[in-house]
Subunit: 243 residues, 6 copies
């Protein structure tokens, strides 16, 4: 039933709009719609200044067991990790559920290069990655993780499955969810709400920028936030004046 | 490919043998066979003195999302939690992967009563349970969890799926694995190794009992552990004498 | 505005009723009324089998500072800790907010003896206590804490104030709230809801006992929980039959 | 008895002097005066290179309860959070005690703008803030927190009170204490010691700069730290020469 | 310079006296003598009701490295763990510093049997032990640890050295220190203070028992604790009357 | 048996080669040689962009005890910390084992200046340092620690010994091991393997750079990683062409 997105690219505009909003505004607007767990507290970027949005392709790892390890020969065709990477397409975001396990790194620079070549916009991993400097500087793929580890994908870890619901930094992610990530962290946006969130967040951020300016000029918060009718009127005028 | 066991009961003898060994011996013997992660550190029993063994029926929960919640009407037929419970049969062990989330309890006394009625031998949950005293004293179902919580299965949690590989207390568990649990914790035994582990553990524990008696009588460990030929000969004689 | 209860004893019947319900049922019923944070996860009893209910008299401690320490001479009249203890009356529950700080113990057996003599029913402390065995066996006062520490109330700690809202094990407690504690942990019940909770919990537990018996006899959960009209009718009959 | 400072500005010179010393020197000099808990380990700046000093205006939050929430209508006049913000004046430092709770953010960019407009020099919060980039880049108010969270001030949190002693990152802070914060963290300086600390720290840092230069030139630490009479004489000469 | 005690047994009387006092009183009396870190918070007994005192023989483990592992042939003569065990004598207490590492168990029932046979009174380990039930019920050796683990002494661990100062549960222990342990935890008593602590603790506990009885009879704490001259006089009379 | 290196400088070339490889490659190559615990997860640099390699001179600290403190007069000749610093020579790396204890800082700018003057290339400490900005900007000595703390070396800490095996960030380090540290963390390289690791890592990184370029050009990972014969041939050609 759940399908990897395949990177159809049909949502480029939506993703572009979402990329203009902050993770803070997105999670706040989702809270108002009944979603309590969307912000991924602790997702730490390896770079500064990136804000990307993509659709989740999920992967799930667990503590290693020899009977679940994929043979070298079958790796590319059967190992969920490699299959997931090859299923990535333009606009996808690889979400790796490690359950906080940092005993091995899930991704190094070579795999990151492949993930980028497939068109994915980022990696989100609640475990460790390695080669952080190379991924940032030589590959140029944005990544968020719990930590950085030197060891690679050792027998400490095993790929369990992909394209299933996963947990990541305290949030449930299903394949096809939108993931928006910036310097503050990452937020999950259900696909069915993504357009609505894109619309309301753009408006909300524009409005809050106006209010912040008012406050910086000395207008008491009590008079403008939440905005009353007079403030909203001024805001509309400000918009009409070209902001 | 992975199938819930359905509680066929064909393994009653095997489970009975495994129930005579300790989680310590089982995990040590699995280590020798290349399995590093089988002992579930932190699985805390709500009762004292129980040692049970059953085949894993797995269930996976995640932080709640309204779009993934099952409606009350569909609960019994579609919610993975309820479906999993009804799939339990004699000799099964319900293994619930919460990822350490204790924001709601997965099981209370009514559900535990059903789990027991279905024939399951225990519950293992790396999150919280509730009604611990009732489960222990009135239902009589052995349970191991991370903690005890008063709140029930609130919107803080959602059932993700069942009958899939899961993680529990740092161990990967696949459906059909044997779970052996006692006062020390719990251990996962792959189904394909269960008979072998049952055989070697019984022998190992018998041998170690003999060695411990020697040591208690003053034989230096250097002379009897690991046992040399002379010690093994004495052990065989001890066995022949009826021990 | 906030007043310590003074142990008026007028609520003896209410507290007696609350003492018949479990922390699990109480927190679940409070959840239905919009209270998300009432169960105190991690409150560990030093005894087994106690269930007590009392009204919160609160005390707040912090990391020590010499300028905030009370002189020996002023201790009994000005130190918030000692004033709080002397303000306790019959039916009170001393709630000590340490913020998880276990660098010193808040209460030993002599202070516990005084707390008990004043009529309080228990101590709840999200830090450490000392003399646990003596408090349990020689004083006989039920206590719940984060841990047990040998050191007493050293300069590592200072009393900040009492009779104010406090946090304890992740729950906000205001003076006069009811605290119900048992082997599973502790729950905060707002005074304004205490009678209602007492009423609905007694009924709820009775009903759940009936349902658990049905389930133990093989009735599927889908048919009796939540109870449908037929089950409720059977329940009423069961009650009329003297249960 | 405890009074918010009201931002009288009479201590501008003192604060300016304190701003020239490091949190390390200040906490070390306080240790010598019997204060063990003054350095706030874990207070993480959202900006680089800021060092500010202000007088503490305190605020205390707790896990949410509907009965303690302030209505929208009363927010500005009764909610401790909003009242505290409006009580801020020039030279104040807002200190928010969350007890480590990061389930909601205490401050976003609009509130930060108001805090700055009131004249406060910074925010210190042992919970989460949101809109970190905007607070840093668009508002320009220095802030130190435990983490960054997207969600705002949801019902997960409630304002308990303000202008009371609080705990923050393992330190007890009373209203009117000086808070000095830089890239290393934050330190609490009791008001009664602030002038003394300012005096001794300036001298201490000057002396340590001289000693560090000696050590960099090869003078063994054993000969100059702590400085003996000869070293002190050289230091006085160095000062007289214009350093 | 530091020597293992060799179990001379000359301190039997001292150890017997110390065994009559509680870890709480011992750590409090050490605090008054300038020792801040003597109580081992988190040392969890595997049995109930034991109180033992012995002299520390120390052992230090670390994360495993193949180049530091002792060959099977050299185990008994060169591995610090085995050498330490064979150095134990009557009245010793084996203190194992794992730094919190629970990836393998340091001691099982066979080794515990040897430790007991050598005359040691207990094991203290800030890592894991295994075979807890057998150590408690079949060997009968008291033990305190951080947790219980099934895996034995695998390549995850290596013995570093013995008979050196170690850290254990936040306390520095040097060989020959007295270790006193009971249900509340464990306390380190420097050898040079042991007789003094034994003397003052016995008196202190006797006095506190008298005071607790007064308090239980209703004497306000302000009148008897700390005891004033009148209380001390009554205490002396109570002693003279045969208590 | 174990000797501090004394900074003979004979290994300058080896250290220079190691400095060209990443901690990730080094720990991966060590893993292949049976070393599971070499990467120090959590070792956080106070600077950006440094990569240094030196031989470990070890120091071990513990929770303070007055009887183990060195008098001021004996500090330079007997305190293990000061003796260790004076034993440092060119190419050494000071490794301080605090066991995670951050209650005091081990090193400030004056001591760091001395450490640098002695020729050491860096400090690695699994506790706290202070004066981070001065160490980075004025002294210029690279340092990795668990955190930054204002308090100095207070009675909370005591030097236990130096030039012994230590634990640091989950890795066992013996004197003379090579420590390689960069922005990702730090890795321990046993001295006996250092030349081999230097050789294979240089080659490995060169090869992986080639492969990453292939992947960035679109070659599937399945065709080039691990490299098959054709890829290796292309790699050799690439090298011959001057890369």
């Amino acid at each position: 039933m759940i399908q990897a997105t395949g990177g159809v690219g049909a949502d480029d505009e939506l993703r572009a709009t979402l990329t203009t909003v902050t993770t803070a505004t997105a999670s706040a607007m989702l809270w108002r719609r009944g979603y309590s767990f969307t912000f991924m507290l602790g997702a730490t970027p390896i770079q500064r200044g990136a804000r990307v949005c993509g659709r989740a392709v999920t992967l799930r790892l667990g503590p290693g067991r020899p009977d679940l390890a994929t043979s070298e020969a079958d790796r590319n065709t059967k190992d969920p990790m490699w299959v997931a990477v090859e299923a990535l397409g333009p606009g996808d975001f690889l979400v790796i559920d490690c359950g906080g396990n940092q005993s091995g790194a899930t991704t190094g620079d070579i795999l990151a290069a492949r993930i980028q070549f497939r068109g994915a916009v980022g990696i989100l991993c609640d475990g460790a990655i390695r080669d952080a400097a190379q991924i940032r500087d030589l590959v140029g793929l944005p990544a968020w993780s719990l930590g950085v580890q030197g060891l690679g994908f050792t027998p400490n870890l095993v790929s369990l499955d992909w394209n299933v619901p996963v947990r990541c930094f305290g949030v449930t992610v299903v394949p096809g969810d939108y993931i928006l990530a910036d310097d503050d962290g990452a937020v999950m946006i259900p696909a069915s709400l993504a357009q609505e969130i894109a619309d309301v967040c753009s408006e909300q951020e524009h409005k809050e920028e106006f209010i912040r300016r008012l406050v910086q000029q000395g207008v008491p918060v009590s008079e403008c936030y939440p905005p009353n009718a007079a403030t909203l009127e001024k805001y509309e005028a400000w918009k009409r004046s070209g902001h």
